[in-house]
Symmetry: none
Subunit: 159 residues, 2 copies
């Protein structure tokens, strides 16, 4: 039988936020929150090499028009020939009465897996020297224009 996975410890901090990405087209500067900065080189049909820079709102609920509690600033790119798959590096920037500080995150966004983990590799301010895991779950997407990811942030090292 499969080796039972080591039970993971209880996080010292845990919160769930929704990440909203609205891709810049040609004329919607007002609403867009991200923009592609490379042209995919044609390696397969799943946007391999498309790199997107973002400043995306993070909300407590699923509504992208809710007041953001943080901003996600960073980039992702698509990196698979025969299916959609991505890679992320970004910072969660908190600037509210509740939280002041940042969390730095990177890892593989294995899009065809229902829930996938990335690493929180560091934190600053209220999150001084924190480390942990973020679990991504694709919540919804509308063509190439908008997608929402549920991000379950679990810190296992808190100062």
């Amino acid at each position: 039988a499969r080796k039972p996975s080591k039970s993971q410890p209880k996080p010292c901090k845990n919160f769930v936020l929704y990440y909203h990405d609205i891709m810049f087209g040609v004329d919607d500067v007002q609403n867009a929150t991200s923009a592609a900065v490379t042209n995919p080189p044609g390696l397969g049909n799943f946007k391999f090499g498309k790199l997107v820079i973002f400043d995306d709102p993070m909300t407590i609920d699923k509504n992208f028009q809710s007041e953001p509690v943080a901003r996600a600033q960073g980039f992702y790119f698509y990196d698979m020939k025969n299916d959609y798959n991505a890679w992320f590096a970004y910072t969660l920037v908190f600037n509210s009465t509740q939280h002041k500080g940042t969390l730095n995150i990177m890892g593989a966004d294995l899009m065809m897996v229902q829930s996938r983990d990335l690493s929180v590799v560091g934190g600053t301010g209220d999150f001084f020297m924190s480390r942990g895991i973020v679990t991504f779950e694709t919540d919804t997407f509308e063509g190439a224009k908008y997608f929402r990811v549920k991000m379950d942030i679990k810190l296992y090292e808190c100062y």
Copy 2:
């Protein structure tokens, strides 16, 4: 009054260096230390999406012509629609009699904040498995050609 920020421990290693970035134009290969590799897609007027790769000198004083004590190798990009804001991932490469090794750093460069923190996520050589915080302060800039950042490097985990 503002909640007194939790006292941060004393760093096990701490040094301040100046980062100098001289942007490649058209004909100044000799002096340039960085170059843009994307064309900003037009999302706002603050260079959103401009991605710059650099191999920049790090000096002990403010003079970019002083002998560098390290090189900063990595990239930054601008990522905000309505103000200047950036994101960095880079390595400090030390190759002197004093230090041999590297420090790996990433995070949000919140340019409109006087001093802002990024994460030292790892280290090698003399900095084996180190972790900590780097505080950025913009020291000066000359148009789009040159800028200098004071980087206060504080390691809180040293082997």
